[in-house]
Amino acid sequence: MVDDRRPWAADLAHPVPLAAVAALVLNDHVLKHAAWAPRLLSGKLSDAAGLFFFPILLLTLASVGGSARRALPAVASAVATGTAFAAVKLSPPVNAWVSHAWGPIALDPTDLATLPALALSVMWMTRRQLAGATPAPRWLRAAAVLFTAAASLATTQARQVRLYPMWTVVDGGDARFACADLHTWVVKSGKEGAGVMVRITGRGAGSVAIEDARFEVGPASHPAVTRAPGFAMVPGVASDAYVGFAFDGEDAWQRGTRDGLVVMRVAACGEETELRVRVAYRVDRRQLVSPPSPPSSTALLVAAPEVAAPDAGAPPAEPP
């Protein structure tokens, strides 16, 4: 048992936790924006620093008096902090809620690797003070608490970023054929037009090719400006076909055009079919939680395999 009745705030008013707070501030406001800073370092440093000082701040703000039994509240505070941290890092709904209230927080399970910082925090709070050592004066404790609380609140990156209207698939994005499954989404959307990606996942022997495609925006029809290759299907293997459409996306948005249709003539598994994919031109609010730049928002929220796209520009495969 540790017999030390110093106030919790005294554990903050010390160079060690204050260095952790300073590291968090430096990381959030400098390193994360610096091209030279390793992503691995800047991505974890704030989490580790925060996990170290936040349990102390929590006890200070909760006005839990310093007692002879420091271990119990220290461990309880660390467990509460760790639980909340894990929930934010693992649970999309919790992450979305906290991100909305506090600012964007990465939904990244690998950040849990910083949890051992909680053990250091408990060790710090339960350490024995040297004989003759006196707690920091009241004004210094108050300043340390204010600094730490301000640093905790000011860790967010820019939240209210510019929102971009994007074409989004609303219906008809999935199709099933005898030899393949097709999943279509809009991968590019902007002033110059739009681009559609079709993920073709093999289910059996056969071939799939997008023979022709057009993007209908209101009364206007815009033919594809790129040609996707054909693919020989291998069960379980996915290929990506990209189709780009050039049109004035700014004019469409300005005119209030919000509905569109992507029509693709697909030769799949020996049959020819016309796929009609309904798309809508709208603003996806999820862009707000996708630092550092808006467009890849969905990537944060959708757990999906990530693959290079060599097939998108590869020469057409010969049908078997």
């Binding site: 510019r162 991968v187 590019k188 002033k191 400006v225």
Partner: protein, 196 residues
């Protein structure tokens, strides 16, 4: 030097934020539709390039400084000036601001300054009005125009160099003399912002 730094320098004396209105905020960005994305993530949108913003900035404020006044005979004396100025600028930024940015300002802008030097120590006339055309790029700016001394019905050219909130100004009133002053502007910019 970034636009934000310029904003900091321009607004720091005020210890306040730059106020603005987003006239057009949600607007399409740039994409290259002819090239497939480098990396494919299912259901994810590939990077959109930020087209930046356009600004119309109205900045009223005050200025004060000191320097030297050289009269028509060539005699030089210390001089001080204090006045008010309002500017209207059109400018651009290559990247869009975030609403919770503390300060932001166009990186390149041009416009007009209209001002009145209320106190012009050691000048015969009590005040001088002026109109200048101004251009600034990042931190630095230059303005040139014409000044009038209404009480003496005299006028002459005026030129000003800016570095953030600091200025150096040369004023020549025909038949009266030349003032060279250095000082500080304190302005409260208000911006109307259009996404490009």
């Amino acid at each position: 030097m970034t636009g934000r730094r310029v904003g900091v320098l321009l607004c720091a004396p005020l210890l306040g934020a730059c106020w603005h209105t987003d006239v057009r905020r949600t607007w399409p960005g740039h994409v290259d539709v002819r090239t497939p994305p480098d990396k494919v993530v299912v259901d994810a949108v590939d990077g959109i390039k930020d087209p930046g913003e356009q600004y119309l900035v109205f900045s009223p404020g005050v200025f004060g400084g000191g320097g030297v006044a050289i009269d028509s005979s060539g005699a030089a004396r210390a001089a001080a000036s204090l006045g008010a100025e309002a500017s209207v600028h059109y400018g651009t930024r290559h990247s869009s601001h975030a609403e919770d940015d503390f300060l932001f300002y166009p990186e390149r802008a041009y416009g007009l300054n209209a001002g009145w030097t209320l106190v012009n120590q050691d000048r015969a006339g009590p005040s001088v009005g002026y109109l200048e055309a101004q251009f600034f790029d990042e931190l630095y700016g230059v303005a040139a125009g014409w000044a009038w001394d209404p009480t003496r019905a005299q006028s002459g050219p005026q030129a000003t160099l800016f570095a953030g909130p600091l200025y150096a100004r040369v004023l020549h009133i025909a038949g009266d003399g030349t003032d060279v002053t250095f000082g500080l502007f304190v302005k409260v910019p208000y911006s109307w912002v259009w996404a490009r």
